[in-house]
Structure formats: structure tokens, C-alpha cells
Symmetry: C2
Subunit: 302 residues, 2 copies
């Protein structure tokens, strides 16, 4: 691999002329009938195998249109150990298909344990061989350091939660601290730190290996955070099913040499369950591929 994650991501987006990240959130009840056929929902080993097959077929369908896939750890963990085995196989499959694998685990712990998580996931020498991981900043800057260090050392990436897409994200992230007239929000405080990590390890693309998560559902904050973190890649969830539009996510991009870059936009349900809405497709994979292609084309307008 290129030794720098930010460069690798930039290159992959440029090659596919696409900023689409496909979220793999395989809720069993939403999987195609052809995948679920003959599998008892209580047989977790069989469910995990079928889920793996489904995710791999999704990957095959979207690989042309998407530089990145983002497996959501929760939906593999909730199948028990068999689900984790399935996740491993899916990561391998995505890598063979040339995709960047961003594991959405939102991990975070005190320093020595954060090292354990970083060693688990970051880089092709790690057990899970992922390209990048989402992490949670609540525990503090010292707990982000081991992730940033491992990413830097292993050509991998980290995406720190800054402003999340859910309705209640303001509960903690929007709280203002500091003197009146000179206050800022918690998410801005985290963003400042993310930018300091990003700028400490930029590649040829000008972008860092540590980036941020900012929801499409908060476009004003996205614009503000783009300006505040010029060297950070931004993962933008909340597009599609959660309500984010092209108009919303455009604020997450920056121009370098006349070209938009610096952000990837995630859609999960809108792509991987596209067959639920698209009755015209001959099979579920065709519907999934069409949805990924459509999203790529929509984002090209940026």
C-alpha cells in the first residue's frame, strides 16, 4: 500500500471519480429473500454465513462506484463470534476488490487499552487488516494518541467523532464552554484537536491520516468544521435515509488545485437495501449497483 492513508484515500477517490462510502449495516430482516431463504434466524452460524455472502455480493455490486466500504461492527457483533468471523471474511473480500475498508466501531478507551484496539484493527499487519477505524473522543486527547500513532505507523487512518448525525447529538456535542463572548462548542474543541493531529502527518495530497466524522444532517456545522479542519478528511454519514442531501454534504469538501476532495459521503440503507424500493431491477444486486452509481453521479455535481 501507499504508506499514507490520506494519499491512498485521495488516489482511490480520484481513480473512481467518486466520494461514495457504502455502509455495510446488514440487518437480517432487511436482507433479500434469496439470501434469507432456508436460514433460521435463531441459527446464528447460518445467519452469519448468509450475511457474509450478502455483504460480499454488495461489495461486488458497488466496487466500480465506491472507493470505500464501511462495515458497521454492531451488526456483526450482534451475531456473536460467528458474526465476527463473517466480518473478517468481508474485510478480506473488500480488500481483494481493491476497496478501502473503514471499520465503523467507534472505539475508545484509556491509553493502554486504546493501543489494544489500534493494534487490533489498523493496518494490513493487524489481525483485522482494516484501513481505518472510527473512534470516540469522550475519554480525552491522551486516548486518541495511540490510534493516531498506530495509523501513522501503519499507513492507516482514524476518523474521530466530532459532530454526529443523530437528532440528540447536541446533548453533549453542542454545549458551549468558555468565557461569554469567547465560547465554543464541544464539537469545535474536538475538531481543533483533530486538525492538530491531521496537520502533524500530512501526505502528498495535503491531507492527514487522522480525520473526522461530521453528519450530513448538520450542514451549517459541516461548513464551519470544514474550514476549521482543512487537513482532515471528513466522513459524512447521514446521507439518504437519514435525510442528508447533496446540497448538505457539499459543505464538507474542499478544493485543492481546482478539484473537490477531503470528504467521503456514507450511505448505508439507501444503497444496500435499494432493492426494497427499486422493483425495476432484475435482481437485488442490480438495484444495489444502480443506487451506488446514482449516488456517485449525484455527488459528481459537487
Amino acid at each position: 500500500m501507499d504508506s499514507h492513508f490520506g494519499d491512498r484515500l485521495a488516489k482511490s477517490c480520484a481513480e473512481k471519480d467518486s466520494f461514495v462510502c457504502v455502509g455495510l449495516d446488514p440487518r437480517w430482516e432487511s436482507l433479500p429473500d434469496s439470501i434469507r431463504q432456508g436460514v433460521s434466524p435463531t441459527d446464528l452460524q447460518a445467519v452469519a454465513r448468509a450475511t457474509q455472502r450478502y455483504c460480499q455480493e454488495v461489495i461486488d455490486a458497488v466496487a466500480e462506484y465506491s472507493p470505500v466500504v464501511k462495515p458497521q461492527a454492531a451488526f456483526f457483533e450482534n451475531l456473536g463470534p460467528h458474526g465476527m468471523q463473517a466480518l473478517w471474511g468481508i474485510v478480506q473480500h473488500a480488500r481483494k476488490a481493491g476497496l478501502i475498508v473503514l471499520l465503523d466501531g467507534k472505539r475508545g478507551d484509556i491509553g493502554s487499552t486504546a493501543q489494544g484496539y489500534a493494534a487490533a484493527y489498523l493496518g494490513y499487519e493487524s489481525p483485522w487488516q482494516c484501513d481505518a477505524l472510527t473512534v470516540n473522543p469522550y475519554l480525552g486527547d491522551d486516548t486518541l494518541a495511540p490510534f493516531h500513532q498506530a495509523a501513522t505507523d501503519n499507513g492507516a487512518g482514524v476518523f474521530v467523532l466530532v459532530k454526529t448525525s443523530n437528532p440528540g447529538s447536541g446533548f453533549l456535542q453542542d454545549l458551549q464552554f468558555g468565557e461569554p463572548g469567547d465560547s465554543k462548542a464541544i464539537y469545535e474543541h474536538v475538531a481543533e484537536h483533530v486538525e492538530s493531529l491531521a496537520v502533524s502527518h500530512t501526505g502528498e495530497s495535503g491531507m492527514g491520516s487522522t480525520g473526522a466524522v461530521v453528519g450530513a444532517t448538520y450542514p451549517a456545522q459541516l461548513a464551519e468544521l470544514r474550514a476549521q479542519m482543512p487537513h482532515a478528511w471528513i466522513l459524512i454519514p447521514g446521507f439518504g435515509a437519514q435525510g442528508g442531501t447533496v446540497e448538505d454534504v457539499k459543505h464538507g469538501f474542499r478544493l485543492i488545485d481546482g478539484t473537490s476532495t477531503g470528504a467521503i459521503v456514507n450511505s448505508s440503507r439507501g444503497i444496500i437495501f435499494a432493492y426494497q424500493k427499486d422493483n425495476s431491477a432484475s435482481d437485488w444486486q442490480t438495484a444495489v449497483a444502480a443506487a451506488a452509481k446514482e449516488m456517485r453521479d449525484q455527488l459528481r455535481a459537487i
Copy 2:
């Protein structure tokens, strides 16, 4: 099981007259020679099997002195899928030994995904069959709701990170917001919400099923938070190797009918690697058991 986690924890602490939580953080390089013998550190399947054996023997050694064990998810995830299989076996072993299993995963995600994590871990009908899980509040109150609901429904427990034990926890948790003269810290804001969840579902013991994590390394805040969350069980990490003492952790307990309750104190390295310091023991398990017994006796002074 008793249908209420708070009651179950109270009963188990009372029966063993112990507030000891043994943290299972099995760093391979620190495991006893007899466990590591003949195992190549790069053979993750063999490492995972040996790690499982070690953890199960730790459980057997401490079961008499400790009502709760707390496996740290990171140290199983960093052995890949085989590590997760080992974790599953360890949970089963601990349950058979009559111990309450609190998985330290610090999970957190937007609502529908939080439901996935909760379904994965909380309760004996879940794939991992844990009694309780640690969760992270950064994403907001709406993301804690599915964990609290699942715990309430399944006789399980949730421990929300409030004030963590690491040196950098103040980076975010100590920030003060609100009007001058009427400001409070982020951790107090989270604590208020935890108390509201705890009090919404108390059992016969008077304690809730949703509790908090507060580090022994911040005794002043621990005392303050104990008063602020009278119905919340507090998991107190940071005892022993991280520097917390009996004098520090006593602030985390409350008196009900003249008896101390409402807190469990975690030690990981101080117990599970006790053989590194105790040369008098005939074997490593004896040293581990002695360390657990000593901690139990120390805490009885409270």
C-alpha cells in the same frame, strides 16, 4: 436470574461480602510462562486458546472473592476472530462460576445501531449473554436510550462513562458550560442523565439498572458524583496499578440500612498479573487468588 440487574449485583456483593470487580485484560506478554509455553505469538488461534485457558483459570481463582468479572473487549478483539471466540467461552465459564459478567466495550452509536450493540450483549438471551456493558455518552442521550431500554427489558445493566480514570479525561469531561456562577462540568451533565435513567428503573435494592463509570483517580469528583447519582451503581476503575487507593474509592459507596453498597471497584493488572510481584506463591493461580482476597479484605474496611 433476578429480573433486575441492580438487585442481582447487590445480592451478589452481599453474598460474597465483596465489592471486587476483576478486570480481565489479558496482555499476552504478561501471561504466565506456563500458559505461553510452546505458543507462537503470531499464531493467533493458539494465542486465543491459551488466553481463554488463562482467563478461565483466573476466574476459578477469584470466584470466591469477587462478585463480578470485567473482560476488556480490546484484548480479545486484538486476537482477531479467534479472540472473539475465546471471549465467548470466557463469558460462559464466568457465568457457570456464578459471576456477573460486565463486558468493558465502551460501545456507543446512533439509535438504530445502538440497538444492535444492545441486542448483541445485554442479557442471557443475547448472543454474548453478558450481564452488563460499558457505554460511551458522546453521541447523546438518544443513543443511550436503546441500551437502557434493553437493560430494563432483559434484566441486564449498563454503565455509562461519566468521569474516566485516565490523566487526560479532563480534556472533554471537565469542561464547564453554562452561565458564570451557574456552570457545570460535562461529566456532571452526563451524571444528571445517568441518575434520571437509574431512578426510572430501581429494584428492591433501591438502585437502578443503569449506572456510571467514575475513576478512582479522581476521588473529589467521585464523592461529588456519588451524591449526584444516589440511585446509580458506580463502577470504579483505576484502583491499584493506576494509583487509586481504598481511601479514594470509599467516596463511591453509599449507605443503605447501615450497609455500604452502590459501587464495585475494578482492579485488572493488580490481580490478574499478581504472580509478577508475588514470588512466595506456589503457582500463579495462588498468587492471583491471594491478590483478589487481599483486595476484598481491604475494601471491607469501608
